[in-house]
């Protein structure tokens, strides 16, 4: 088969790019354990309390280890339930020391929501009946807004909270 000189160059370029992209993808998936945020972990959407993580007392921030935290979020129209503090007030502001690893676990009681910590990689669909989870290292100090980025109804814009990463 005869190939034009230029054809050989662009075929090499194209196939090379494909190989590089696939290697990066494979490395992320098999070595770093990257997976879709919702990957078949189910829950009863009408009784999310039946799951240990979404019991009212376990919602919000939990310290697991020195720089390991878990944040459990129960999303519903139109609120992110992040639990209550010691005085019984609703939590809308979470503080985490810089450099900690945070595991976000979220589920929805009703419709699909979009859990997004604006300005970070924490961005996941939250579907009723499923638990979405994502572990992220919070390395940049600052105050981030948690929003819902999946239109969920008339009160969509009321679903927000803040996450502060302090030094």
């Amino acid at each position: 088969m005869h190939l034009h000189k230029y054809e050989k160059i662009w075929l090499t370029f194209g196939i090379g790019a494909l190989v590089i992209f696939l290697i990066v993808l494979g490395y992320g998936a098999f070595y770093k354990g990257t997976h879709p945020q919702s990957h078949g972990v189910t829950i009863d959407q009408n009784n999310i309390e039946s799951n240990e993580a979404f019991k009212p007392e376990n919602l919000g921030l939990t310290k697991v280890d020195d720089d390991k935290y878990i944040i459990n979020i129960a999303a519903s129209a139109f609120n992110y339930d992040l639990g209550k503090d010691e005085e019984g007030n609703v939590v809308k502001h979470i503080r985490i020391p810089k450099g900690s690893k945070v595991l976000f676990q979220a589920t929805s009681k009703d419709v699909i929501h979009g859990f997004n910590v604006a300005g970070t990689n924490v961005n996941m669909m939250v579907e009723p009946g499923y638990i979405s989870s994502l572990e992220v290292a919070m390395n940049k100090p600052g105050t981030y807004t948690i929003v819902c980025n999946e239109y969920c109804g008339v009160g969509h814009h009321l679903m927000y909270a803040t996450l502060e990463v302090y030094e």
Binding site: H2, H4, Y6, E7, I9, W10, F13, G14, A17, F21, V24, G119, T120, N121, K140
Partner: protein
């Protein structure tokens, strides 16, 4: 078509000018690579 003419036609095809195609393919390729690197860097840095 005589044999000579056939030869000439083949010859012309082999020498077809693909410079324009090459440049457009490379422009597209570079654009794809730059956008991919941009998105990936954004993912790694946040």
């Amino acid at each position: 078509m005589s044999n000579d003419e056939k030869k000439k036609a083949n010859h012309n095809e082999e020498k077809s000018d693909l410079k324009g195609t090459f440049v457009s393919v490379m422009i597209l390729g570079v654009f794809l690579v730059i956008s991919w690197i941009g998105a990936f860097t954004l993912f790694l840095s946040r």
